[in-house]
Symmetry: C2
Subunit: 387 residues, 2 copies
């Protein structure tokens, strides 16, 4: 039987930050094999990351990041999964799916393997409804609709920018909750996708996340975390707050719910506490800041919105900690890098087919999957994305 | 084995608007039998409504409503399920659960009967989280919690005022959707309860609804619908919009999701269209009105909030249709009735035990369940609640 062409095969990149061999891809092979992967190798660039054969991928290590971005590489975190946003930057595709390398294929209640990517694509390709709550959840899903009392003028919805997926098994808890409930596991499959209403912030987790890069890419910056920074594990949260405020301003939708992945292992709560503890009290000021952030009418592009937000971060959060001035600088550097690479894209548009590499002049470590067995595994454990 | 005392047995009334014999209670017996029922009989008061034996109830027909409220009875709708709010008014309990008489016990995915009332009580007794979205849904539920990035200062939540339950089988669609999708059935059991965020309106359905009467009762007015009114089927919507704005203002939570009931029969879409059609275009102006409604700092009680809202309805919606002036009047009449009966409550506080009746001086048709078989069924079908 002929299999249908995978959805958005040539319009989506899968971005994976990692410090280890990507054996986890074996389980995802039926769902990922037709897509292009962008692997962002964190930590020691001399280590070699093994990728199972048959995948089409490009891999960037720290040397590649430094070479491609030059002095602007300072905006890309090191020894933290925040480095994944470099993959968003160098992608030329319209859609991104990003997943952690400790996430496996989950099963739905009928024991069927969940094609997480396919569900994300469905979420992104159907509208969102941020202006009014539909009590039967996603009204565009087969077998459901808008309920009585839902204004007809709002039933076309808006474009969806972000699809936030969830996790079975190990829930995405902070260190204090991990410490208090070390053996809590998420076993509940909630069969729903919903739009997060306009004006409401949410904790966006980067573990299982997809987005429309053309709509919101420039705001998908994961901040300064990890090596040399006073904080970790707030990379995706930061991106989520910025993105939500900008989506609300520009009228784009953010969905959460399905698909689930199977999150295989809990990170060390003691290590996490060390990374998080400043964030735990900073967020008490950061969240009110984002809740009250207003962007100007003149900010009609994501880039403009992001620059305005960077300015407000500098003005209003620097008193919380000098770190936020540095972060505001990095936000500007990020958006400059984005604009630079996006304009490059136009110039270098036709070259991509040759090997899957980007920016050939200063090319990354581009690899085409080999039928030969890959070199032995190299493991690095220090302070890196999936630790 | 000794069964535990039902939750809130003496603190909750079940309010049922009806035009027919309440045979549907048979199926609910295991869950409702220990609770007191308030039955609001719509339509012809000379008809006799049969209640299965063994239930403790009081029943009010139109004559009772007129006698108890006098001239203020004009605020209670006739020939429309909106009349149910009279039951909220005469209740003396802290909590209300209201259900339609075409709603049966649904089964969860493990085929177990769902105790809808118990789930509503759980929802009402646990806090809500209107200020920040928790991606794993109700954080107070067993086996789950707040996720990483959820501000700790918000984890105590706020008091829950409303629990909005859902429907398996016949979904609560408007007439146009019923006409377009006559055979669509809701078969998806979404195992979640969530708080509707602050600032977001939702379509509140009165079919399967519980609330804390002390917190929000005075705003739970179902408007002027049915006989003599230009509109129907917007009673619960109206109450929902008013309640949500007031809950947001006073800092109370509104939850939706579990429990499901089994909604047995679709109402006639042609009849519904006739009732709804004005509402379908009015709501395009009503919803922006509620979305932008601001209550003053001085409004610190539900009653004060409700009076302010009535004033704003008169000022801002009367230009949509003169009906809204009448509705604003009725809102004031309702709140006056509420205040009047609430003060009566204090005076007549000790009498209730004698027969379950309320306001003995001008008492309702109060009945104590009889072990004898009740009189034969009387059916009335015109324009009434569960038609």
């Amino acid at each position: 039987m002929a299999r249908p062409t995978p959805l958005l095969k040539d319009e989506l990149d899968i971005v994976i930050p990692t410090i280890r061999n990507l054996d986890f891809l074996e389980m995802w092979r039926p769902f990922f094999q037709h897509y292009h992967l962008i692997i962002v190798q964190d930590g020691d660039p001399s280590k070699q990351i093994k990728v199972p054969e048959g995948f089409d991928y490009e891999l960037y290590n720290r040397n590649d990041i430094n070479r491609i971005l030059g002095s602007k590489a300072s905006c890309i975190s090191f020894k933290d999964s925040a480095c994944r946003c470099f993959g968003f930057l160098v992608s030329k595709k319209k859609y991104i799916f990003t997943i952690d390398d400790d996430c496996f294929v989950a099963k739905d209640p009928s024991s069927k393997d969940i094609n997480a990517l396919e569900q994300h694509i469905k979420n992104l390709l159907s509208p969102s409804t941020p202006y009014f709550f539909n009590t039967l959840y996603d009204p565009y899903r087969e077998g459901t609709d808008f309920v009585r009392g839902y204004p007809f003028s709002l039933r076309e919805g808006v474009q969806t920018a972000i699809s936030h997926g969830l996790w079975l098994n190990i829930p995405d808890y902070d260190a204090p909750t991990q410490l208090v409930k070390p053996s809590e596991r998420n076993t509940r499959y909630v069969d729903a996708v919903m739009t997060i209403p306009k004006g409401t912030l949410f904790p966006m987790c980067g573990m299982n996340l997809a987005f429309n890069r053309e709509l919101i890419g420039p705001a998908m910056y994961f901040g300064l975390m990890g090596d040399g920074q006073p904080i970790g594990r707030y990379d995706d949260m930061w991106a989520g707050w910025c993105c939500k405020v900008i989506c609300d301003h520009l009228g784009y939708g953010v969905k959460t719910g399905l698909p689930y992945i199977w999150h295989s292992k809990a990170s060390n709560p003691f290590v996490n506490l060390k990374k998080e503890y400043k964030g735990i009290f900073w967020q008490e000021e950061i969240i009110p800041f984002f809740q009250s952030a207003v962007l100007s009418k003149e900010a009609t592009s994501v880039e403009q919105c992001y620059r305005e937000l960077a300015k407000q971060v500098r003005e209003k959060l620097s008193n919380v900690d000098p770190y936020f001035s540095k972060l505001a600088d990095a936000m500007v550097t990020w958006i400059e890098s984005w604009e630079e690479l996006t304009s490059n894209k136009i110039v270098a548009g036709g070259v991509k087919a040759s090997s899957g590499g980007v920016h050939h002049a200063n090319g990354p470590t581009t690899k085409v999957a080999s039928p030969l067995p890959p070199p032995p595994a190299v493991v690095e454990e220090l302070g890196s994305p999936a630790a």
